[in-house]
Amino acid sequence: MNIVVCVKQVPDTWAEKRLSADDKTVDREGVDGVMNELDEYAVEEALRIKEASGGEVTVLTMGPDKSVETIRKALSMGADKAVHLVDAGLHGSDALATSYAMAKALGTIEHDLVIMGVESTDARMSVLPAMLAERLGASQLTFARKVEVGSGTVKIERQTDTGYDVVEAATPAVVSVVEKINEPRYPSFKGIMAAKKKPLTTLSLGDAGIEADKVGFAGSGTEVAEFSPRPPKQAGQIVKDEGDGGVKLAEFLASQKFV
């Protein structure tokens, strides 16, 4: 089974995330980039499927030049090759434009399965897997906490608020995975060395057959009209427990009509 695992480079979890004042996009210059944590589970799942049933794992990312760091990480974990969709014309793409561009890039890679994290930790929309399934005409198997690959079919446990749904579909399929579906491996030294020699293909808009007016700011269906830092919260009341902390808290709750 040939698998494409989609990864995204995002600002480090611990970094203070900002929007750039110029064009209101996520400021990726001033902060360290890391692989979106939820995509690590996707890479691991893809590798496990490959190890169990063969095939090839290709990493796909869309993003600026420095996203290559994230590609290297996925390759050093064990993916076979990588495709980097990188073009200045992509800057400013929203979900509508990104899903279009990613679907086009996926069209250049032979695959049975696309695997990705349920959302990125910067945009946090969790719409891209469903949008890719829609664009590709592939089965949607999202929010997977368990993935079982059969012959020509994939069965998942889809996490819900109250438990899980068992969902099955034929390939090709787009699978998104939730945290804790597995324990992602750390790249070994051997893996890191091997990654340097693995094939990395760079795609421009033209290479992927992407129409320039359907991506970037012009091709997006949304815009950030304005943004501002959240006003600082008024300092709250803090009391030290002198044996009556619980009572004082109950009094506060009563004053706010919660009890």
Binding site: L96, V118, T142, T162, Y164, R230, K233, V239
Partner: protein, 316 residues
């Protein structure tokens, strides 16, 4: 006035609270029209009227419940193309967001997710990066599709006599590719759902052991609250991962959020910072969670929590 479609989120027909919130919001933006997809419409009808739906589109084909989200997006796309609404409002649940995404592709429109408010001109208010930045976003292409977080608007009844329109949806085979074979409910207590709850009580590392979550559950139950957990607690296996509040877990925005034994690392704050009232109990006075609180108690949770639970019981 132009129609504003509201997708009804329901369990066997019974609408979730967020549906009433969206109908209330839609009334301020245009003429609210509910879209009901699936079985059990009889359980929804009166409630949708009570919250002011001027019209209800009903796609009650029994075939729709056995598949993942794709058929719902198809139905919605058909209604959008025949009724040309001013906008489509969808609850910001995992499923709602997926439907919104697929709809956006189908009708080539922009989609904004996780709005905490929608103002004139369908300007969506968002709170991003863990609540650090407020954003006003607009759809610039097609019909605005906006998913709205639960607890963004107080639901207010406004009885109406809705007209009903049966929608016979033609569902493509492609949309039926992902079949739901089974729906499994894992230990569901009587507690409200985390993202919908008006009050959330969360426990973290300070609890020291999974068995001590009983303290949190007991407090939650006296308040009719949902139970959340920090990542430290779910990683340690003390509480199910589905209850994790934070950057890699759920985002909640309840009226009242209580953080017990949680230091308030950025990972956690990203999931709860927009809560209306925040309370913390922590033994470390330097814990960053205290920067967010309306009321904080510096002390041993094993003393404070039982006393608080008892005191609330007394006041009931």
């Amino acid at each position: 006035m132009a129609e504003v479609l509201v997708l009804v989120e329901h369990v066997d027909g019974a609408p979730k609270k967020v549906t009433f919130e969206l109908l209330t919001l839609a009334r301020s933006l245009g003429e609210p029209a509910a879209v009901f997809i699936g079985n059990g419409f009889d359980n929804a009808k009166d409630k949708l009227a009570e919250y002011g739906a001027a019209k209800i589109y009903v796609a009650g084909d029994g075939d729709l419940d056995g598949y993942l989200v794709a058929p719902k997006a198809e139905v919605l796309a058909q209604i959008v193309s025949s009724s040309s609404p001013a906008a489509v409002l969808i609850p910001s649940s995992p499923e709602g967001k997926e439907i919104a995404g697929r709809l956006a592709v189908k009708i080539d429109s922009g989609v904004v997710t996780d709005a905490v408010g929608v103002e004139d001109g369908f300007v969506a208010k968002q709170s991003i990066f863990g609540g650090a930045i407020n954003v006003a976003a607009k759809v610039t292409k097609g019909t605005p599709i906006i998913t709205v977080r639960p607890n963004s608007t107080a639901p207010e009844p406004s009885p109406a006599q809705p007209t009903e329109e049966q929608v016979t949806a033609s569902i493509s085979d492609a949309a039926k590719s992902a079949k739901v074979l089974d729906r499994v409910t894992e230990k569901k207590g009587g507690r409200p759902e985390l993202t919908e709850a008006a009050i959330v009580v969360s426990g973290g590392r300070g609890l020291g052991d999974g068995s001590n979550f009983s303290l949190i559950e007991k407090l939650a139950d006296t308040l009719g609250a949902a139970v959340g957990a920090s990542r430290a607690a779910t990683d340690a296996g003390w509480y199910p991962h589905t209850n994790q509040v934070g950057q890699t877990g759920k985002t909640v925005s309840p009226q009242l959020y209580m953080a017990v034994g949680i230091s308030g690392a950025i990972q956690h704050r990203a999931g709860m910072q927009t809560s209306k009232t925040i309370i913390a109990i922590n033994k470390d006075p330097e814990a960053p969670i205290f920067e967010l609180v309306d009321f904080g108690v510096v002390g041993d949770l094993f003393n404070v929590v039982p006393q608080l639970t008892e005191e609330i019981e007394k006041r009931k």
